[in-house]
Amino acid sequence: MKPRVAFFDFASCEGCQLEALNLDAGELLDLIAAVDIVNFREAMSESSDTYDIAFIEGSVTRESDIARLEKIRQRAKILIALGACATIGGVNCLKNHMPMEEALKIVYGEDAKNYDTIPTKPIDEVVHVDYYVRGCPPPTSEMLKVVKAILLGKKPEIPNYPVCVECKWSGNVCAFERAMTCLGPVSRAGCGAICVTKGRNCWGCRGLVDEPNVDSEKEILQKHGITLEQALQKFQIYCTGGEKK
């Protein structure tokens, strides 16, 4: 019997689910042939509470999210964090650097009193996570890689080296040499250095590598003209700063 796959979204833009739909037609058909998709808000109206693999998109930002996530965890045999918000907190973490009341007021103004919010958590701060599919958005190839690894019963080979490696493979001119600053030297690769290849720089959406040399990176950022404070802010965009992931 084919494994039943469900997608769930928490605080997020749902871009990860959309990215999943970006599989080319052949891949999509292959995927549907390999698994049964039973919950996928972006693509289907039916839903089911019986599933084997749960993809969680988004981060936990409300008290009520916790119970919901725990329930999914109980039902799923395998739980996968999908995308930057789920794996490291993502841009939702920006509010963690201010009081919650202030964040609510900025977003909802007068109506702030009608909402509750808690500091953003990546989902593994609430439940056990079996696999991580990183990035904002995560590459579909990596999503498939993890699904295939589960089906094959092997450990998916996700890089634990910095973006620089793939950046060099791509023959890019270093962002620092283009008068930009970049978090690539401490951020986990696996994205094919897509942002730098397209002429931008890396913001660390896949989180830090396991042993990042953050001190050295800060020194390099400062050497390239940004203050320590700005350097720290850079690390906060995707919540990669002091976090271990």
Partner: protein
């Protein structure tokens, strides 16, 4: 290293002898021959490394000598010298194995440089004899001249024939990329982001495809299209030569071989090297093989060296080549020589020494220290033309039936590179990974393949954001630390031959005399007859084995003979043991220690001696000295203080001083008795009674610590300057050699820097005067 043996062949004695002299001065062994026959005889008997040969010789011609020498000793490198360079002779000479030439009159610097380069190119210190012979006969490179439009039609011809990868610009940098037209090609560039070798060994490639539907079936993936790499610099050509060794010689790699066989290499000599490059230090700024064609832009056109038959065919087909002129050969040499001067980095040690240097410095703290800021980002290894490590992974299709096995570049500086499945990481520190990479560059690869794993291109140093990756910096730093270590070793070795500073010399107690209730004076002389050689004011460590050592100031002047006197008050264990000694017994003496009184500063001056109590003991050595050399000094004023008449020491000597008309002498006791007729009071009270010329007077004071402050006050009152007040400090001097630290006042060791100081020297030393 043994001296290289050089043979100089010239029929003109003056040329022969001057070249010989220059080369001997540069550290070579030189033999000479005045004709070809003689030279060939010598080559049969001696293993020369380099021959410097006049091409015009009487009898056997230079060309014949070249050809015959090559058969006798294939390893011999020949440099020809000629006053009449014609293209025919030069090409002929090259054909017969001459590696370079110089035009007469020969400039010593040019010759030395050429010989040095030649010698360096011969010996990499590792290649086996067999490899050396295999490599020695480099392909006969024939040189042609082509015009710029010849180059253009060559490239255009190639583009029609095959895929052409050339140097193009990208965001202000240079890359190797597919050329669609000749106009995109840049031949004058410093360095590309990635090396051209990535077209032989790409970042990611599929090795196998497989299907597991009915048992596993593998299918080889190995296809390469015909390609030409255009604009490859000699350092990258040398790097490809290493990859050839790695991927072809041992366990041939089919994918690499197929690409290599389908790839033409059109090199270009580098005229504007990158700022981080040190290729000349690695001997890779030139290449005499490993290319099909090697171009040099000589401004008035191009020189094209032919490396292979295919290269020659291409040249003939597209580039309209013609024979080179002597002027063009000279011009090529000029531009290449000029390019060498433009390299900004170089190895500070001969590259032949690297291997041993790295071997000896495996444990050097440099590695961890230097790697502190390493990001483990892999940039250095990914841009390296000689790095070839890779990872292999399988990727299955979603149908879980078909899949492929691919490899991608990996690198030893990445954190997980040496990590095994159980989680252990065999190079878990940044320093160990950094060291591994540098040792691969300078040692491991060299040992395995006979070529260094670094061609000095400088890409890693440019790519490294932490600015630590440059191998030449690491090599030089290790060499420097080695030098420092050698120096330290030398100091240690030399120091060992000197005497042991803690070993006392035996001294015989010749005479002992009571001075007071608790004071005695001892006359010593060394058992081995040596002289103490002391200065007034110095002290010795007196050693009674089993009891200990004690610092005792010397009471007698060195002017009074080889025996020396120590006056000692019995106040502690050692002095107590000393007091029990009988004449004829032996003690240990170390010293003399300390600086003593500043005799040079006292010369010509009036001296005001002030002693309190047994402060007289050390001061006596100076008083005796000054009296013995009376003519060197001005007025002598002696002010002495004792607690009571019975505590006056050396009374008969005091009596002599009192009676000496050249001494102004005053004495006081704090408490008199019925017999005492002299002054009563503290010694300070005597000071106002003497009139001194403050400009020309130095006061020398020795006494109990409590006395100093009062005496100094009084001397300041009469206007004596700090630099004219000299005093001797008492401290607990345990070792006497500035080590143990007991006598230290702030940063000063009293035993070495004192015990005598001027008040000026003590200003600012907080604990000096109580």
């Amino acid at each position: 290293m043994a001296k290289e043996m050089i043979l100089v062949v010239d029929d003109e004695a003056i040329v022969r002898e001057s070249i010989k002299d220059w080369l001997i001065q540069s550290g070579y062994q030189v033999l000479t021959a005045e004709n070809g026959e003689e030279a060939l005889e010598m080559i049969k008997k001696q293993d020369f490394r380099v021959m410097v040969l006049d091409i015009r010789l009487p009898g056997e011609s230079g060309i014949n000598v070249l050809a015959k020498a090559k058969t006798i000793n294939p390893k011999l490198k020949s440099i020809i010298i000629t006053a009449y360079p014609t293209e025919d002779t030069l090409i002929e000479a090259k054909k017969h194995g001459a590696i370079d030439y110089l035009i007469k009159p020969v400039i010593p610097e040019d010759l030395e440089k050429l010989i040095q380069d030649t010698v360096n190119s011969i010996d990499d210190g590792v290649a086996t004899e067999k490899e050396r012979i295999e490599k020695a006969p480099s392909p006969i490179t024939k040189l042609y001249s082509i015009t710029s439009s010849g180059v253009k039609s060559l490239i255009e011809g190639l583009i029609r024939e095959r895929e052409v990868i050339g140097v193009k610009s990208k965001q202000g940098k240079f890359i190797f990329d597919k050329l669609n037209s000749y106009d995109e090609l840049i031949l004058d560039y410093d360095i590309t982001l990635l090396p051209p070798s990535k077209f032989l060994f790409p970042a990611k490639e599929t090795l196998l495809k497989f299907n597991v539907e009915s048992g596993p079936k593998f299918q080889v993936v190995n296809d390469a299209k015909p390609r030409a790499l255009v604009g490859v610099h000699p350092d990258d050509i040398n790097a490809i030569a290493l990859l050839d060794d790695v991927f072809i010689k041992i366990n041939p790699d089919p994918n690499y071989i197929t690409r290599r066989q389908n790839t033409l290499i059109i090199g270009v000599n580098c005229l504007h090297p990158a700022s981080e490059s040190f290729a000349p230090s690695m001997g890779t700024n030139t290449a005499d093989s490993g290319y099909d064609l090697l171009l040099t832009d000589i401004g008035i056109g191009f020189m094209a060296a032919v490396g292979t038959k295919t290269g020659a065919e291409l040249l003939n087909k597209y580039a309209n080549p013609r024979e080179v002129t002597g002027e063009e050969i000279a011009r090529q040499k000029e531009v290449r020589d000029e390019a060498v001067t433009k390299y900004q980095r170089s190895l500070n040690v001969p590259k032949e020494r690297l291997l041993k240097l790295l071997q000896d410095n495996y444990e050097n703290p440099f590695w961890e220290f230097r790697a502190k800021s390493c990001l483990s980002c892999g940039s250095c290894v990914m841009v390296c033309p000689t790095c070839f490590c890779f990872d292999v992974q399988d990727e299955m299709a979603l149908n879980l039936i078909e899949g492929e096995r691919y490899r991608n570049w990996d690198g030893c500086v990445l954190v997980d590179f040496a990590k095994v499945a159980s989680g252990e990481n065999f190079r878990h520190t940044k320093g160990s990974r950094f060291r591994h990479r540098i040792l691969r560059k300078g040692k491991y690869i060299l040992e395995k393949y006979g070529r260094a794993g670094c061609v000095g291109c400088g890409r890693c140093a440019t790519a490294c954001l932490a600015k630590i990756a440059s191998p030449v910096e690491a090599f030089n730093a290790i060499a420097e630390s080695e030098r420092v270590k050698e120096e330290a070793d030398r100091i240690i070795i030399e120091a060992e031959s000197k005497h042991n500073i803690y070993l006392p010399h035996l001294a015989l107690l010749v005479n002992v005399q009571d001075l007071g209730a608790k004071e005695k004076v001892f006359d010593f002389k060394f058992v081995d007859g040596r002289a103490l050689g002391h200065k007034p004011g110095q002290f010795v460590e007196v050693s009674i084995p089993g009891i200990g050592e004690s610092p005792i100031s010397i009471s007698s002047s060195p002017t009074r003979g080889e025996e020396f006197q120590l006056a000692v008050r019995n106040v502690g264990s050692v002095t107590n043991a000393l007091h029990k000694l009988k004449e004829g017994q032996v003690v240990g003496i170390r010293g003399p220690f300390g600086k003593g009184f500043p005799i040079d500063q006292l010369k010509g001056k009036d001296i005001l001696f002030i002693a309190g109590g047994i402060g007289l003991f050390p001061l006596r050595s100076l008083i005796q000295y000054v009296l013995d050399k009376r003519e060197n000094f001005g007025r002598i004023i002696i002010l002495l203080g004792a607690r009571s008449p019975s505590e006056r020491m050396f009374t008969s000597e005091l009596e002599q001083w009192n009676r000496n008309p050249s001494i102004e002498y005053m004495e006081t006791v704090e408490k008199g008795d019925e017999k005492w007729m002299g002054n009563v009071g503290v010694v300070t009270a005597l000071i106002p009674k003497v009139r001194v010329d403050i400009k020309n007077t130095v006061a020398v004071i020795v006494g109990p610590p409590i006395m100093y402050r009062f005496v100094i006050n009084e001397l300041k009152k009469i206007g004596l300057a700090d630099e004219h007040i000299v005093l001797s400090l008492e401290r607990r001097m345990k070792c006497g050699v500035g080590k143990c630290g007991h006598c230290q006042i702030n940063g000063i060791y009293v035993c070495q820097d004192g015990p005598v100081f001027t008040l000026e020297q003590l200003r600012g030393l907080r604990e000096a005067v109580l």
